[in-house]
Point group: none
Chain length 128, copies 4
DNA sequence: GTGGTCTAGACCACG
DNA sequence: GTGGTCTAGACCACA
């Protein structure tokens, strides 16, 4: 499980980190119950601030992706990620809507859009 | 064309405003060449600062959605919105990928995801 | 002598008008002593505000390109345009310098730059 | 890298600031990757508002001269400035044409004009 | 500490 | 009346 960050990106580092962990779980590179690096060691490996890693982990914990034990360290949630609920769907809708709106404006057909989504979905089925 | 803002949201106001204008164009509620409210009047209507409106307008102008004339005010780009180019596709991919990764983690099937996109697409074909 | 304005341009209309008159004189399409349309008729022809034409004319008069008589109307300065003086050179330098600075940054060689200037110069020698 | 502004000038302060930064890059006083002062410190040094500095920086970023990082501050684009493209040339032409038109009116020969450009070009080859 | 966002209020250029 | 510019001062997100 490699993590690559773009320190130049507009996207906050902690967000990138979250996305990479989530992507790792999606690709099954990280299995339920599997241990993740400690805040300290990950921060050192990536050359970033402790606070940044901690913020990412706390949010991942908050959203049910991981568990943080004081002693045992950080592990991928052994019970799996919480299934999609109503809150998730509404949040997803509000995040995708603006993207689709812009796509419509730019004359991107629904087929083209769906094709892109399919390709991305496929990328998570196998290990990239 | 009604605009509704959530002043409490984490999403910056100017971003919400941009999204609403883009959605309006997607839904054909705003036609090419049609005039938009002036910076000042829209700010007054929405109860926000004129600089916030201006920031949204400036970015919409930058991205080719609207034109801003010193005197005539603001109009939807009469030539239509620039078509999807390479930069747009890569940007779109990087925005959608994390959403799909999370969907995969939450056991949302590709069919379910595609269905949501279809619904949203449909919402832009007719006036909501 | 045709005048074409771009009402969508960022450049103020009165500035465009000035430039067109100056270009006309440069191309000898307008000869010293030749009459120009009155403020009123030019504004009507171009479909713009009286004040706009007036502002352009006043500045052209100020800079010695034209004369404005209350009775005889507006004429190209019969004595020709004032020759380049020190003030002109320093003003020209301050206007060109930023353009050349950007050209240098963009790896435009002096030869390429001079070639462009030559082409533009040539365009004023003959009637376009 | 010294910056001098004329607060009385008709030219907006943020434009002057942009030109000075571009000139600094042209003269190699600012190297790719080199850090620029923070918005706040530069504003304090120059005795102007931070928003004015910010506007200049944002536009320089937009045009590819600099990069702005949330934390690391502002740096000259390490990849260098984007090369001249078609849009640049047409923009440059429209900016230079009126200057050459006026030069022609004032009996400035092409040789004199080219000489001035050469001198300015030379000024950017060495540190002034 | 950095830049990002938002507000409030001013004056000017343009037409 | 429009947008453009500038100021002053506030709070927040990020690292």
């Amino acid at each position: 499980m490699y993590i690559t960050l773009d320190l130049e990106s507009e996207e906050p580092i902690y967000t990138q980190l979250k996305h990479q962990v989530i992507a790792g779980i999606a690709k099954k590179e990280l299995s339920p119950g599997e241990a993740l690096p400690s805040v300290r060691s990950l921060a050192a490996d990536l050359g970033i601030n402790l606070h940044t890693v901690n913020k990412a982990y706390q949010q991942l914990k908050q959203e049910g992706f991981i568990l943080i034990h004081r002693q045992k360290g950080v592990v991928v949630n052994p019970d799996g990620v919480p299934k999609a609920d109503e809150g998730y769907w509404s949040e997803l809708t509000s995040k995708i809507s603006p993207l689709i709106a812009e796509a419509v404006c730019r004359d991107v057909s629904e087929e083209e859009f769906q094709k892109l989504c399919s390709q991305i979905y496929a990328g998570f089925q196998t290990k990239e």
